[in-house]
């Protein structure tokens, strides 16, 4: 892929992706907890959120040129989107890690998590997912990013990848017949989110394609330029395949565990691939508006 934006590359794509997975897994866990209380699916979400976020923060940390000075980013909380994000991610990590610890200690015993912790966690999970889009959205020099559609797109994608991670986690660890019902409703929710993601992505590309700024070149590079092969693989593998798999799951009335294991795991893996590909592609085609030397 030639001509891609190289200031922020793969490490940042992985950082944005994993922060989104953590937020999405947490929100899904909260939903399952609200519906069913303490159960293996909800626990899997708690079990995934904090480590995903931790790894995501490590990617950010090691991508810094002078990582040992990272504490400076805490000192001016509202000076920049990065400092806002540093605080949001840190607070979300603390909440998720505390619940992770409780969950870890509880083992077979029943798990008690306070509503206050859940509510704070949900707020910061949403903030984290939205933040990953806003971080790019405020960059005026790159018109393709500079739109409120990007936080919307990243939020939707975060929820979807979170559900994907939950499906993969639960099904690989070994789901019981009693989990199938809630996994079905998660995959039904994800069907809506993948559908929304397709619509928002389509709208985003149409709007940006009409732009007189460099954003139109970004769209061209994405759908027909050097990034096009990767982009269309993403559209098929990351969006259409999981959509069809989840559609298939929801058409069946039998609620069989075996079909859930096959389709659910496959859909989850595709969703995760799609989430990472989406973030990398959007970073890669961030073409600068540039300044005109000729008046």
């Amino acid at each position: 892929m030639s001509g891609v934006q190289t200031v922020w590359g793969w490490p940042i794509a992985i950082y944005l992706f994993l922060a989104g997975v953590a937020a999405g897994a947490y929100l899904s866990a909260a939903y399952v907890w609200y519906k069913r209380g303490d159960n293996p699916v909800s626990r899997m979400g708690i079990f995934l959120a904090a480590p995903c976020l931790g790894v995501s923060i490590l990617f950010l940390f090691f991508d810094l040129g002078a990582p040992l000075r990272f504490m400076l980013a805490f000192l001016k909380p509202f000076s920049s989107m990065i400092s806002v994000g540093t605080w949001v991610l840190t607070i979300f990590f603390i909440i998720a890690a505390l619940q992770w610890l409780k969950c870890y200690k509880a083992k077979e015993a029943s798990l008690e998590l306070s509503n206050a912790a859940w509510i704070a966690g949900i707020i910061f999970a949403v903030a984290t997912a939205v933040y990953t889009g806003v971080l790019l959205g405020v960059v005026k020099a790159i018109p393709f990013w500079n739109t409120p559609l990007l936080p919307v797109l990243f939020f939707i994608s975060s929820v979807s990848t979170g559900i994907g991670a939950l499906l993969v986690g639960v099904l690989i660890k070994g789901a019981k017949d009693s989990d199938v019902g809630i996994l079905h409703s998660l995959s039904r929710i994800d069907l809506v989110f993948v559908g929304l993601e397709v619509l928002v992505l389509l709208f985003y590309l149409l709007v940006m394609g009409q732009s007189r700024l460099a954003a139109a070149s970004s769209v061209k590079m994405l759908v027909a330029g050097s990034c096009a092969p990767f982009f269309w693989i993403f559209v098929v593998v990351g969006l259409l395949v999981p959509f069809c798999l989840e559609w298939g799951l929801n058409r069946k009335q039998d609620n069989q565990l075996s079909s859930m294991v096959v389709s659910g795991t496959a859909a989850g893996i595709c969703l995760l691939f799609g989430g990472l590909a989406l973030r990398y592609l959007i970073l890669a085609v961030g073409i600068f508006e540039g300044f005109s030397p000729i008046l």
Binding site: L64, G65, R69, F288, G290, F291, P293, L295
Partner: protein
């Protein structure tokens, strides 16, 4: 307090590249590349315009525009990039964490990431010299006296007269960052 700015008279520019070399040598900037981008504070830009046979090639030095509404300052999480009282967009290397957000935010591509130090670098109008009452290196060494430097708030300064009398203009003012580097006789 002055509000420093710069003006380049492209009619007087003989394209000798002294500004670029001087800056690189006297600021000890290593000769390396970051993804095809040279480690340099002053870039020499040579765009072409028009269609054959009416083609023109432009040449001008470009560096930090010291914007009054500098987007690099807005995005800096640590205050390493800041606007000084005299309008210079200054940079504190001790506070830079190397996140490179400022490189993305700058529409004038004025910053580069130094892999040796792990931090960002840019033109600072040679602020140490300027505060001693001297001129920046590129101004001092320019063989055609094409670059002028001074107080934009003083209507009689050479740089102000370049704008009011010779019609020097900022590059892409529509970006809205209010640059303080101006170019005269562009055509």
């Amino acid at each position: 307090m002055p509000r420093y700015g710069m003006a380049v008279d492209l009619k007087k520019c003989v394209r000798c590249r002294t500004c670029y070399i001087t800056c690189k040598v006297l600021h000890n900037i290593p000769s390396q590349f970051d993804n095809g981008r040279k480690y340099t504070r002053v870039k020499l830009i040579e765009p072409e315009a028009g269609k054959y046979p009416a083609v023109r090639r432009f040449f001008y030095p470009s560096h930090c525009m010291h914007c009054d509404d500098a987007p690099c300052v807005t995005v800096c999480p640590t205050g390493a990039s800041f606007k000084d009282k005299d309008g210079i967009i200054s940079f504190d290397p001790k506070k830079c964490i190397g996140c490179r957000y400022c490189i993305l935010a700058c529409p004038y591509d004025a910053r580069y990431f130094n892999h040796e130090t792990g931090i960002v670098d840019k033109c600072d109008f040679c602020e140490d010299k300027v505060r001693q009452g001297k001129e920046p290196y590129c101004v001092e060494k320019c063989i055609g006296h094409a670059i002028t430097f001074g107080d934009l708030d003083d209507p009689n300064s050479e740089v102000s007269r370049m704008i009011t009398e010779a019609g020097a203009v900022a590059l892409s003012p529509q970006l809205g960052t209010k640059p303080k580097v101006f170019y005269g006789n562009m055509r």
